[in-house]
């Protein structure tokens, strides 16, 4: 059984159909990269997996359980799924330690001392142990995004979603974030990413999903997909991002 | 004792002209003074800035009622002669208006980015030209909603002139209320007239602000 099962999902914003019957399976430990032009529905699909958007048709199952915004244990579910956003969304009024430990303290029943140790642990994993007492505003974009990843790691998630996490960064800061994500991939984390970083998609992902006009247009292992695109849409997309 | 009649309504509505007169006088004298305070507040000369800031803090730091009484009883002390209530009241409202508008306009002037002054200087404009051609127009756009908002505060504030005996809308209300023994009706009518004067301005200010936020 796949960890994430997406079956024939439909989603509309007003009259605009963003997802038109998307199906996709992601196995435990797999790293799936979703690529496609803006407006192809990739970010929306990611947000649906975490029930940030409600779907109009089809179903999404994670660990065999159907996901929707009104499920009774939505909060427990979300604690097992980490999501990192394009705009970091750190909490400006909390320092790095409090950003990382707020949710474990409020939901996990851990104490202050454990929280500090937890923060040190996850911040070390993203290479920012020395920034534990800094304010988000004092950090570069790349550092803020790594704190955002650490904030998810503190929840010990089974699944990580990345929504264009390097798109808002200056080019010289992209590498440090990708390096952290590569390390997570090596440790066997199940990851679904929406990204424009084709190098990362090619080198780290097990599978590439090309979305076009709200549908999964083409999918397959990176080497094959990039070398022999079957559809003209993917061909022109690959040409445009080279 | 007599009951509230049509003639009372007429006398209340007539009293509005005195309210309007106070507002116009306060703006005619207070707005230029406010502009002077605002520009002094952003001047390069520190003593000028401190003086303007002190005056604004002082005006905003005492009750309007206090200002009114201070000048109502103070004018004879300062000038050594009795002056009509209208003059004393006008002086108080002028300073009140200058203090608040000076602060509002200072904020608008400072909200224009420093780079805009520099851009003007790079074009070889004088400081005055920079102010009137580059900074002023941009500040004016930002200043309009809060200025209209202050206008509402000023109109409501003119009701205090009644307390030093100046007969405007609120005072006419007190007189009518005392004559008719119908405070509920009288004060409701008075409130309704103020409401009719202020609401359009409030709505206008809000739509201006919404447009400004939309444009940003």
């Amino acid at each position: 059984m796949a960890l994430v099962e997406i079956r024939d999902v439909y989603k509309k914003f007003g009259h605009v159909e963003v997802l038109k019957g998307v199906s996709l399976d992601v196995a435990e430990g797999e790293i799936v990269t979703i690529i496609g032009r803006s407006g192809s529905g990739k970010s929306t699909l990611l947000r649906c997996i975490n029930a940030l958007e409600t779907i109009e048709g089809g179903e999404i199952r994670v660990e065999g359980r159907q996901i929707h915004a009104k499920m009774p244990d939505l909060r427990q579910f979300r604690q097992r799924v980490g999501i990192v956003f394009q705009a970091f969304n750190l909490f400006p009024h909390l320092n790095v330690e409090r950003n990382v430990t707020l949710a474990p303290l409020l939901t996990g029943g851990i104490g202050k001392a454990e929280a500090r140790a937890l923060a040190e642990d996850v911040l070390t994993r993203v290479g920012l142990a020395d920034k534990i007492d800094a304010w988000p505003e004092q950090l570069s974009g790349g550092q803020q995004q790594r704190v955002a990843i650490a904030r998810c790691l503190a929840m010990k998630p089974h699944l990580m979603l990345f929504d264009e996490v390097t798109s808002a960064l200056d080019p010289e800061l992209v590498g440090e974030v990708l390096k952290v994500m590569e390390a997570m991939a090596r440790q066997g984390m199940t990851m679904i990413l929406v990204t424009h970083e084709m190098g990362f998609a090619r080198n780290v992902a097990n599978r590439i999903v090309f979305m076009h006009q709200g549908r999964v247009w083409e999918e397959g292992p990176p080497a094959e997909l990039f070398a022999h695109p079957k559809t003209p849409e993917l061909k022109s997309f690959i040409a445009s991002v080279k | 004792m007599r009951s509230f009649a049509f003639v009372d309504l007429v006398s209340l509505v007539t009293a509005v002209q005195w309210t309007v007169l106070l507002v116009v006088l306060a703006l005619v004298f207070g707005a230029p003074l406010g502009l002077a305070l605002a520009t002094a507040r952003i001047s390069r000369h520190a003593p000028l800035r401190w003086a303007a800031s002190g005056i604004i803090q002082l005006i905003q730091g005492v009750p309007l009622l206090g200002l009114l009484f201070f000048f109502y009883f103070g004018m004879p002390v300062f000038l050594g002669l009795q002056v009509p209530a209208l003059i004393a009241v006008t002086v108080a409202y002028t300073l009140y208006t200058a203090g608040f508008l000076g602060d509002i306009w200072r904020g608008s002037l400072q909200a224009v980015k420093q780079a805009q002054w520099e851009a003007g200087a790079c074009l070889g404009l004088s400081l005055t030209q920079q102010f009137f051609h580059i900074i002023g127009p941009q500040a004016l756009r930002m200043a309009t909603p809060p200025t209209v908002g202050f206008l509402v505060q000023l109109i409501k504030g003119t009701s205090l002139a009644s307390i030093v005996g100046f007969v405007e809308l609120a005072r006419a209300g007190q007189v009518t209320s005392a004559a008719t023994f119908q405070p509920l009706l009288t004060y409701s009518v008075v409130a309704a007239i103020y409401f009719a004067l202020c609401l359009p301005l409030t709505l206008w200010s809000r739509s201006l602000e919404a447009r400004l936020n939309g444009a940003r």
């Binding site: 940030l52 909060r75 427990q76 579910f77 979300r78 604690q79 799924v81 999501i83 956003f85 705009a87 969304n89 909490f91 400006p92 009024h93 909390l94 320092n95 707020l102 949710a103 409020l106 939901t107 304010w135 505003e137 004092q138 904030r151 929840m155 | 803090q57 002082l58 905003q60 730091g61 005492v62 009750p63 009622l65 206090g66 200002l67 009484f69 201070f70 009883f73 103070g74 004879p76 002390v77 509402v152 409501k156 504030g157 009701s159 205090l160 009644s162 307390i163 609120a170 209300g173 007190q174 209320s177 405070p183 509920l184 004060y187 409130a191 103020y194 409401f195 202020c198 609401l199 409030t202």
Partner: protein
């Protein structure tokens, strides 16, 4: 000019200041509670509640505070509800301050981007936890300046309660005036006292600002 005769009225002046402070704090606290309730109603889905709050705001913001005090003091008795002067003024000023507070509180809540709330939800926090830990602190900072300047206007506005003889500072002034006939000196001194109160509160607000909101501002 002779301020000498005023010294004898020290006790009355101090009492007046205390009543002014009491009136200000009561109206500020009650008004803030109204502000929170009103802002919640405005953001809610219940249309009649929204319309009620909107009319309340427009009614109290577009009529003079003085007339509101008169209406409550002179008119409520005809409905069999006779309130003493201080209580009448407190009710009127609370309602007046409340009308401004609703807008302030709402602006504060609106100033927090939806993405912050989503980030909290994605961490599995409850609605209340998101509000308490993620929305409230930055929202309070964003509207702190608006709140403090409205508070100063309220403090000065309590002087209107003198018109129903509520016993606050300005009422004490008119009492001293009637005893000494030193009109100018009395009102000059009263202005100085109000100014000192305002400055003291501004200093207090600055201290609170520096201690409560320590995180750096967004660039």
């Amino acid at each position: 000019m002779n301020f000498q005769p005023l010294w004898r009225y020290q006790d009355q002046l101090i009492e007046g200041v205390l009543i002014t402070l009491a009136l200000t704090l009561v109206a500020a606290i009650v008004g803030l509670v109204i502000g929170v309730a009103g802002a919640v109603a405005l953001r809610g889905n219940f249309r009649p509640a929204r319309m009620l709050v909107r009319s309340y705001i427009e009614l109290f913001r577009n009529t003079p505070s003085l007339i509101q005090i008169f209406l409550i003091f002179f008119v409520l008795p005809s409905f069999g509800l006779k309130l003493p002067a201080f209580e009448s003024a407190a009710v009127a000023l609370s309602l007046y301050f409340g009308a401004y507070s609703v807008e302030i509180v709402r602006a504060g809540l609106d100033s927090i981007p939806k993405s912050q709330i989503e980030a909290g939800q994605c961490l599995g926090l409850t609605g209340w936890q998101v509000f308490r830990h993620i929305v409230l602190p930055p929202a309070m900072r964003n509207v702190y300046p608006a709140f403090t300047s409205q508070f100063v206007l309220l403090l000065l506005g309590t002087s209107l309660a003198s018109q129903v003889a509520a016993g606050e500072l300005f009422h004490v002034a008119s009492f001293i005036e009637s005893r000494t006939y030193r009109s100018f000196e009395v009102y000059a001194a009263i202005c100085v006292i109000y100014f000192a109160l305002v400055m003291a509160f501004k200093a207090l607000f600055a201290v609170i600002d520096a201690t409560a909101f320590r995180w750096p501002r967004r660039q």
